[in-house]
């Protein structure tokens, strides 16, 4: 009996906990709190936070190679399958209509990717700080946070720096949730009241054929110039083609509902399994959080500045605010642009105009990911 009691006691959490594990369980709880109470990207942060708690339970080894989270991680993140399937679902949910109605605005989605590459430089520069040591692969994986696109960040992170994946995913989704707080001051700082008041003309109608051709054209351009981006871009295009073809609605509906939901649950838990204490509780994580914020801010600023350039070139027919939506963070960033526009002029509805740069930002960061994977990977 005594022996059994001792065996049972030696198997309790109380007996086995390390400080790091306790701290990470608190972090997991904090993510869940932010997700539920503050509405921070709950679809991802609840599974990630819960996965983080499960991964830090002593004895149970749920994140180990034979545990549920470890098995899911191996099957879906290590292989890249989960983020690619999410991207397919995103494609099936995305309406490229606004982008097709006024394609020139895609340039805003290109400019905003400056946040990614600036941050890459910043991450390497952080090596000058003692205690922080980022390889080029680490830096690239961190920089992609500036893409403001969850599945892209997870895909690149899992390929280039799996050890940092937990922190990268948490940073990416947290900042995406924080877009309504991070972007407005930058938007107000960089634009004048007059610029923000700019009204934009209604978008033209886009034909069904243009919508069907777009994913194929996008894939074609990508495979000619940057094949390393085709896993991501390809699945986005595939999902979008399922939707726009109009002949496989049952596949499109499944891709954007049940399938993406199932994969989101698995992906979130798997990513959470990388919130292990020894990897997360380090100076690197602080660096990642800081660099992620920089990446978002610089990306927003670059989009805005390109917006101001277009405002001039087009004879004041483009509201520079929609440049901030170029970072992606769909559709939050477009909503923020709309909101700030309305503050300057209550008749100024920018939402649909901002959706073009917004989805262009998704393409832009997938292309940026392709560059990073081709050269650094």
């Amino acid at each position: 009996m005594e022996q059994g009691l001792l065996q049972l006691w030696a198997s309790t959490g109380l007996y086995n906990f390390t400080f790091g594990q306790v701290a990470m369980i608190v972090v997991g709880g904090l993510l869940i709190f932010l997700a539920i109470h503050k509405g921070f990207e709950p679809l991802l942060l609840i599974p990630i936070g819960f996965g983080g708690i499960l991964a830090n339970i002593p004895v149970a080894a749920i994140a180990g190679p034979d545990g549920l989270l470890g098995i899911l991680y191996q099957a879906g993140i290590e292989t890249g399958v989960f983020p690619l399937l999410i991207f397919m679902g995103v494609g099936a949910m995305t309406d490229f209509g606004p982008l097709l109605a006024r394609p020139s605005l895609m340039i805003l989605g290109a400019a905003a990717q400056f946040g990614i590459f600036f941050t890459l430089f910043g991450a390497i520069a952080m090596n000058l700080i003692p205690g922080i040591e980022f390889s080029m692969a680490d830096a690239a994986a961190i920089a992609i946070i500036g893409g403001a696109d969850g599945p892209t960040a997870i895909y690149v992170g899992s390929r280039l720096a799996p050890d940092l994946l937990g922190a990268i995913a948490v940073a990416a989704y947290s900042y995406m949730a924080l877009v309504p707080i991070i972007q407005p001051p930058i938007m107000k700082l960089l634009t004048t009241e007059e610029e923000r008041k700019t009204k934009m003309t209604q978008l033209r109608k886009v034909s069904k054929l243009e919508r069907i051709l777009f994913p194929l054209i996008l894939l074609l351009v990508t495979l000619l110039l940057l094949p390393s981006a085709t896993p991501l871009v390809g699945m986005l295009c595939f999902g979008n083609l399922l939707k726009e073809s109009g002949v496989v609605d049952r596949l499109s509906n499944t891709a954007q509902n049940e399938l993406i939901n199932i994969v989101t649950i698995f992906l979130g838990l798997s990513v959470g399994s990388k919130l292990a204490a020894d990897k997360f509780l380090s100076a690197e994580t602080l660096g990642i959080l800081l660099l992620g914020m920089v990446a978002f801010s610089i990306g927003t600023a670059a989009g805005l500045i390109m917006g101001k350039i277009m405002y001039r070139i087009t004879g004041k027919s483009v509201n520079p605010l929609i440049g901030a939506a170029g970072v992606s963070a769909v559709p939050m960033a477009a909503r923020v642009a709309n909101k700030i526009g309305l503050q300057a002029n209550p008749q100024n509805f920018l939402l649909m105009h901002a959706m073009g740069p917004n989805v262009a930002g998704v393409i832009g960061s997938a292309v940026a990911a392709g560059v990073l994977l081709a050269i650094v990977g």
């Binding site: 209509g97 097709l100 394609p103 020139s104 895609m106 340039i107 989605g109 290109a110 990717q113 400056f114 990614i116 590459f117 600036f118 890459l120 430089f121 991450a123 390497i124 520069a125 090596n127 000058l128 080029m136 830096a139 690239a140 109608k205 886009v206 034909s207 069904k208 054929l209 243009e210 051709l213 777009f214 054209i217 996008l218 351009v221 990508t222 110039l225 940057l226 262009a360 393409i363 832009g364 292309v367 940026a368 392709g370 560059v371 990073l372 050269i375 650094v376």
Partner: protein
């Protein structure tokens, strides 16, 4: 690798990366613009059509019945 080399390389990546992003997106702009001119305009506006069909109670009723039928088949 030394830090200067890494910094140099990351500056290169900045140039290459932004270059690639701009080239691809500008190419897309060009192609899409050409395509939009080639593609014939539709007579009936499709997104509007869909909007209307939502309000159209008849169609909704029929599709609900179909849906039921498929479920119960």
């Amino acid at each position: 690798m030394e830090i200067e080399q890494l910094l140099m390389q990351s500056l290169q990546l900045l140039g290459l990366g932004m270059g690639a992003v701009f080239i691809i997106l500008v190419l897309l702009i060009v192609i899409i613009s050409i395509v939009s001119k080639i593609v014939p305009e539709e007579v009936t506006p499709p997104p509007g059509m869909i909007q209307t069909s939502v309000d159209n109670n008849h169609i909704v009723a029929i599709s609900a019945a179909l849906h039921q039928y498929r479920k119960n088949r």
